[in-house]
């Protein structure tokens, strides 16, 4: 009896906590389906006739569409390249570097200490001079600093957790270093590597400052979404809510896709 009460109370408490954590997001989603007059009421309404108007406004707005496209390309390419360079680098660090390993790892991590503002200003000058200011390639280049270092930093422990004896067993069967990496280390570390990629993706997806300073026409979605706040005299809350929803959607879809991919890979296991 006591345990039942205790369980109910703890469940209720948990549910409350989750609700509190999710409330702003739920409120935003709700708001994105409301007309402006339902939003700016003194008493918040829960019952209203939903509308897709906000979404149509958003998606018809060319700057939002372009922003979304730019974001997908810039973030996609920089995470992909980050993984391509960062994951093998992390493996080498985890397995083959003994001396100075800690120093190297700290150096990689220290790239993340730098406040973006500190690099933004010199970058503007360099970019203007070299003619890559306000280009996708320029943003990808600067984001690579973030993605490569974050991927390395988070993937080293993932590879360190792969039992060394498994790699040795593979070596006993005649596998080369490359084969061991591709057929053993990579699939075994995949679930943790996945986490590092998602984290990296979210990090650059939400990046605002560098995108704001290094691009003008080719703005990314966070920049565009931020600029909507100053669209007119009357703040278009519904549209802002809808743009927020669109902003958070791609990372979620991305996580979902990758998760499915990893599960399949771990489940079938072969190759």
């Amino acid at each position: 009896m006591v345990s039942l009460i205790r369980r109910t109370v703890s469940r209720g408490f948990l549910a409350l906590m989750i609700l509190i954590a999710l409330l702003p997001i739920l409120w935003t989603i709700l708001g994105s389906f409301k007309k402006l007059k339902d939003i700016v009421t003194p008493v918040p309404t829960l019952i209203f006739t939903p509308t897709l108007e906000n979404f149509t406004t958003i998606l018809q707005n060319p700057s939002i569409r372009d922003g979304l496209g730019n974001s997908v390309v810039i973030v996609g390419v920089s995470v992909l390249l980050g993984a391509l360079f960062g994951i093998p680098a992390a493996y080498s660090l985890a397995r083959h570097v003994e001396r100075k390993k800690d120093d190297l790892q700290f150096f990689v991590l220290s790239l993340r200490f730098m406040p973006p503002v500190a690099i933004a200003i010199p970058f503007i000058i360099i970019y203007l001079d070299s003619g890559i200011y306000d280009t996708l390639a320029g943003l990808i280049l600067v984001y690579l600093i973030s993605t490569i270092s974050t991927v390395i930093w988070l993937s080293v422990p993932a590879f360190e957790r792969v039992p060394r004896e498994i790699e040795e067993a593979a070596a006993m069967e005649g596998c080369s270093q490359a084969e061991i990496f591709i057929k053993f280390a990579l699939p075994i570390a995949a679930p943790s590597l996945f986490g590092s990629l998602v984290f990296t993706f979210v990090l650059v997806w939400n990046e605002l400052l560098l995108a704001l300073t290094l691009a003008a026409e080719n703005a990314t979605l966070p920049v565009v979404a931020a600029s909507i706040t100053s669209l007119g005299k009357e703040v278009p809350w519904g549209v802002i809510n809808a743009s927020t929803v669109i902003l958070v959607l791609p990372p979620l879809v991305f996580i979902g896709l990758l998760m499915g991919f990893i599960n399949r890979m771990v489940a079938t296991g072969r190759k």
């Binding site: 039992p163 498994i166 040795e168 067993a169 006993m172 069967e173 005649g174």
Partner: protein
């Protein structure tokens, strides 16, 4: 032909030498056990033979071919690891078949050979499972199957049974031994369990601090330990040691420690002179309650009796220090009583107090 020859092997990590100048010959079909306390370099030796650890100095040859600088995959060697090291992302079948697939063996042939080894090891039902869904003993068998299927010239085992419970250990120990009798593949087996070594080995290589302390058949090691260290390491219950002074009278030597007086034939030992001090070792299992006419009788007060099933270990206080012996007649003994027990002169081990070497002529 797969004899192994290790010549003047040295291994250092940085400036720290863990194995120095080690020579070892293993003949074809032999089952050799590396035995020794933790940290003595057994795994390091094994891994150097496997090619997983670089050799700082010296050469290793397998079947007459110098493999010192060959990568592990080209040595014709298979290894079973202590942690089994199964590939977690592959099914049991794929784990076993991986090596053959790599060698581009036809699929038909692979299936046939996997079936063969998995039946031999009783894995038939488990081929589709993932390693994590197997018990420790089953994982151990998969690891063995994976090693066996390649028909290597040399099997290496690094403490393959140490993660299993006692009963399963015993069972698999016998299986490994039986497998060896059938396949006759040269095998090196590492363990720090002396009982395991005694039961499974053709020859035991007993290591201590990166060097070979003694090598020989299990009975040689047990009956004629070359050093006090070997005598102490092998055998359970552990050997009793007493420091004694020597009195030589003609062809007899008497070893004296307190009330203990043991007579041995002086000519069997070197350096036995009156007044010398030596370390004397007496195996509990080689002593028993004194019978009529025994010479080397020791008497003391029984402190404790440990029932080991068919035998009992009797711990006796002799001159204020404890000794133990093993007897089948332990049920007739009670704690606190006086007791006389004796040892045969042939089973008295005498070691130098300086270097711990046996003074027995044959064992030197």
């Amino acid at each position: 032909m797969a004899n192994i020859k290790c010549t003047r092997i040295r291994k250092s990590y940085g400036g720290h030498t863990v194995i120095s100048d080690l020579n070892l010959d293993i003949s074809d079909h032999e089952f050799v056990v590396f035995l020794g306390p933790s940290g003595c370099g057994k795994s390091t030796m094994l891994r150097m033979i496997a090619g997983l650890e670089e050799i700082s100095d010296g050469t290793v040859s397998i079947g007459g071919r110098d493999v010192t600088h060959l990568p592990p995959g080209e040595r014709g060697v298979a290894m079973v690891f202590q942690s089994y090291a199964l590939y977690p992302h592959m099914s049991v079948y794929d784990n076993i078949a991986f090596g053959l697939r790599r060698q581009k063996v036809p699929a038909e042939e692979i299936r046939r050979r996997v079936d063969q080894v998995s039946n031999l090891l009783g894995l038939g039902q488990l081929l589709e499972r993932k390693p994590k869904n197997l018990s420790g003993g089953q994982q151990q068998r998969v690891a063995m199957a994976r090693a066996m299927i390649k028909t290597p010239k040399l099997f290496l085992f690094d403490e393959p049974l140490s993660n299993l419970d006692a009963k399963l250990r015993e069972k698999l120990r016998t299986e490994i031994r039986r497998m060896h009798l059938e396949l006759k593949t040269t095998t090196i087996f590492v363990t720090h369990d002396q009982l395991e070594a005694m039961t499974i080995a053709d020859r035991i290589v007993l290591m201590r601090a990166g060097a070979i302390e003694q090598q020989g058949t299990p009975s040689e090691i047990f009956d004629r330990p070359a050093t006090r260290f070997v005598a102490d390491f092998i055998g359970s219950p552990a050997m009793n040691f007493r420091e004694c002074s020597v009195h030589v009278e003609g062809d007899r030597a008497e070893l004296v420690s307190g009330s203990i007086r043991l007579k041995v034939p002086a000519k069997d030992y070197r350096d036995l002179v009156s007044g010398a001090r030596v370390e004397v070792g007496l195996r509990p299992s080689k002593m028993d309650i004194a019978a009529e006419g025994d010479v080397n009788i020791i008497s003391g007060t029984v402190v404790l009796i440990e029932n080991m099933g068919s035998e009992g270990q009797v711990i006796v206080d002799v001159d204020g220090r404890e000794m133990s012996f093993v007897t089948k007649a332990f049920r007739t003994i009670e704690a606190g009583q006086r007791i006389n027990f004796s040892i045969d002169p042939d089973n008295i081990h005498i070691f130098s107090r300086d270097d711990g070497r046996s003074l027995l002529h044959a064992a030197a």
